[in-house]
């Protein structure tokens, strides 16, 4: 039965924040269940974040003949959010078939994110998928599609430099600090003034292992309050310069109209700290730190514009990497299309028999090699033997699949299972796949006969019996 995949969604590019908040799905699980009831669908997965809503549906072509599925999903979505369907329609995009697959891969690989390459979306997609599995709205095709999208995201992250450089002001500051000091463990930082960006940078520094954070504010009570939330130590504003001798990184963000940290103060501070390097991050406008500070040896000063420049350069580098990432997405989309095509009874039977013939042929060749010269009659008898053993072994599984195909809605599950058991799609399995579900950590995944053979004769390269060498490890997708 032919399957159709649709993806309906909106994101930060197609809809403003007012539309996004109106059509955000507050209870994704309920929405998925109600959508399955309202429309003749097989599978549903919905993802709702502050920047996007994506609804992925899978249906049978025959069951949905004459129904505009995308329209039905939109109508149900508008109804769930109690919004105007016309408004929703004008802000959404619709993808069908492989376009939907490509779009999902791009979303997972963060190629469609507001900040390209940021990894949060992958975590959000994983959470949504887990919920859909728990709700029971994700089945064979969505299972495969989501697993594939996670592996695409991993490939993009490892094979391209899309996420290698900081693209937020606060991260850029931390990256620079690491380039100056190396590891930040044991270093100290001071937050002068307050402000969202400065606090974020301080949080990132703390996460990178900063040992101590001083917080200095004109209002001491505010400094104490911040020190409490950030596990730091409050410092009187008047004592700031004196305290700087023990501080490696300074983040300044006060509303002062004039510079509060001057080059001559820092020159004195440097003497006291025996020229140990200092990094100043001035996020304030007007600037808090005298620009001449950057002229001192072992002192590095970055203001908000400098950091923005770093971020913009990194952003443009990411755009370049996105071209490579899209090539990966295209290859993986084609691989998924091949799998989808094979998810039918006949291709699976053909692949299964093909695999059996391949294994039988290989084992026969080894046996003949070991036997030496044999007459034609013996050779033919052996060929018939291995062929009939493999076919008879597969007879029952094939009959079972044929029976299930006659039943509504169960065939794909068993066909998919068969393809995974016999690894007909030649998938590579990561050694740490599904670690959370394993019961025995040290258990190997070799099959019994392979393990026995390995134990009997680990160093021998010449096989002693037909099962000895080249063990076909049973690899499944998960």
């Amino acid at each position: 039965m032919e399957k159709i995949i649709h993806l309906v969604g909106l994101n930060h590019r197609t809809a403003g924040v007012d539309v996004r908040e109106k059509f955000a799905l507050t209870n994704v699980a309920d929405f998925e269940k109600s959508l399955l009831e309202a429309c003749p669908l097989r599978e549903v997965l919905a993802l709702s974040t502050c920047n996007r809503v994506e609804i992925l549906v899978v249906a049978d072509n025959e069951r949905c003949a004459g129904i505009d599925l995308a329209e039905a999903v939109l109508a149900h979505w508008a109804e769930t959010c109690q919004g105007d369907p016309e408004t929703l329609r004008s802000h959404t995009y619709l993808h069908a078939g492989l376009d939907a697959v490509t779009h999902l891969f791009c979303v997972a690989a963060s190629l469609d994110s507001m900040v390209m390459g940021e990894p949060q979306i992958l975590g959000q997609l994983k959470t949504s998928y887990r919920k859909a599995v728990e709700t029971g709205t994700a089945r064979v095709i969505i299972n495969r599609l989501l697993h594939k999208s996670f592996s695409v995201a991993k490939r993009v992250r490892t094979e391209t430099a899309i996420a290698s450089s900081a693209v937020s002001i606060s991260y850029a500051a931390v990256e620079l600090a690491k380039k100056i000091f190396g590891e930040l463990t044991g270093k100290t930082a001071m937050l002068v003034g307050a402000g969202e960006m400065a606090e974020l940078a301080a949080t990132h520094l703390l996460a990178s292992g900063i040992e101590k954070l001083f917080i200095c504010n004109r209002t001491y009570a505010r400094a104490q309050e911040l020190a409490k939330t950030m596990h730091g130590e409050a410092v009187f504003f008047e004592d700031m310069v004196e305290q700087l001798k023990g501080v490696d990184i300074v983040i300044s963000s006060t509303g002062s109209p004039t510079a509060i940290i001057r080059a001559r103060d820092i020159r004195e501070v440097l003497k006291k700290r025996r020229n140990r390097a200092m990094f100043f991050i001035d996020i304030a406008v007007p600037r808090d730190i005298d620009p001449d500070v950057n002229g001192l040896d072992n002192v590095y000063l970055y203001d908000i514009d400098d950091l923005k420049e770093v971020v913009e350069e990194n952003m443009s580098a990411r755009q370049g990497e996105a071209v490579k990432a899209r090539a990966i997405v295209d290859i993986e989309t084609q691989a998924f299309a091949s799998w989808l095509k094979a998810l039918a009874l006949q291709p699976t039977i053909t692949d299964l028999l093909g695999r059996a013939e391949e294994v039988a042929g290989r084992e026969l060749a080894k046996t003949l090699k070991r036997l030496g010269a044999v007459d034609d009659e013996t050779r033919q008898a052996l060929e018939v033997l291995v062929s009939s053993v493999s076919r008879k072994l597969l007879h029952e599984p094939i009959c079972f699949l044929k029976r299930r195909t006659r039943e509504e809605g169960t065939a794909e599950r068993f066909i998919d299972m068969t393809r995974r058991i016999f690894n007909l799609d030649a998938d590579q399995v990561s050694p740490d796949a599904h670690l959370d579900r394993r019961t025995l950590e040290d258990e190997t995944i070799d099959c019994e006969c392979c393990r026995e053979d390995a134990l009997q004769d680990p160093g021998d390269t010449e096989p002693q019996n037909p099962h000895d060498d080249d063990p076909q490890k049973p690899e499944g997708r998960d």
Binding site: G182, R274, N275, N294, V310
Partner: protein, 277 residues
Amino acid sequence: MALPDLLPILVIGLYFLGTVLFVVGSALRQELLKNAALGLAALGFALHTMDLAQLAAGADAAQALTAGRFLFCLLGWGILFIFLLLWWRLKLKFLAVVAMPLSLVLYIAANATAGVSAKLPPMLSGLFFLLHIGTLFASMALLAMAFGAGLAFLHLEKRIKTKAGLKHFQKDMPSLDTFDRVNHFVSLAGFPLYTLGLASGYVWAWLSARRVFSLDPKEIMALIILVLYAYLFHQRLAMGWRGRKPAVMAICVFLLTVLSMLGINFLVPTTFHGFKP
């Protein structure tokens, strides 16, 4: 062809391949290539050690140990040894970009000067050899690392100070602090070694010729280097110098030692440290 005859070709080949691979790996930001380069360098180093051991254990060791080939060979070996030490202690893989080509050049120079011996009397063996040549070469090898770390520091510091942004291999470079630690280590360990090397030379000069200073160009240059090295040592440890200044100073001192080693030993006819036949 026996292995001893093949050793120089193998060592040069391995160092050359390692250098090329490391440079390509750094440019392409491929850790695999860099690790392969280090593997080749390590293999080259092992063979290099065998070559040195073979010279030292040979029948004509007394003559071989004062020959130009052995001295250059030893210096190249020392540089790579110090690099491996720094790699182990400070995880400074990046310095391979200096250590490998320097060792390669010195090893090639060693083989180019084969048969050329320094005019030093046979009594220059044992303790004197260990003290004078060993300590001076060790401190030169350290200076070579400080030279590489200093250049890298100045380059990276300029990019950070001028906000020029970090691109390609600059993103993979160690931090400024790490390069500065190399300088600190070199000042701390290298200066005493250099002083010991020079002092042992003067002691030997007194014992053999009853004079300490003979106005040999090499001796004058060595004294200048010692003064600069002492200044670096003092400023670094007593005055808390860090960063750019000690980096520049270490580069200057290393360049002077190279000038002293190559320029004076080969080009100045009046020195008794010369490598001319």
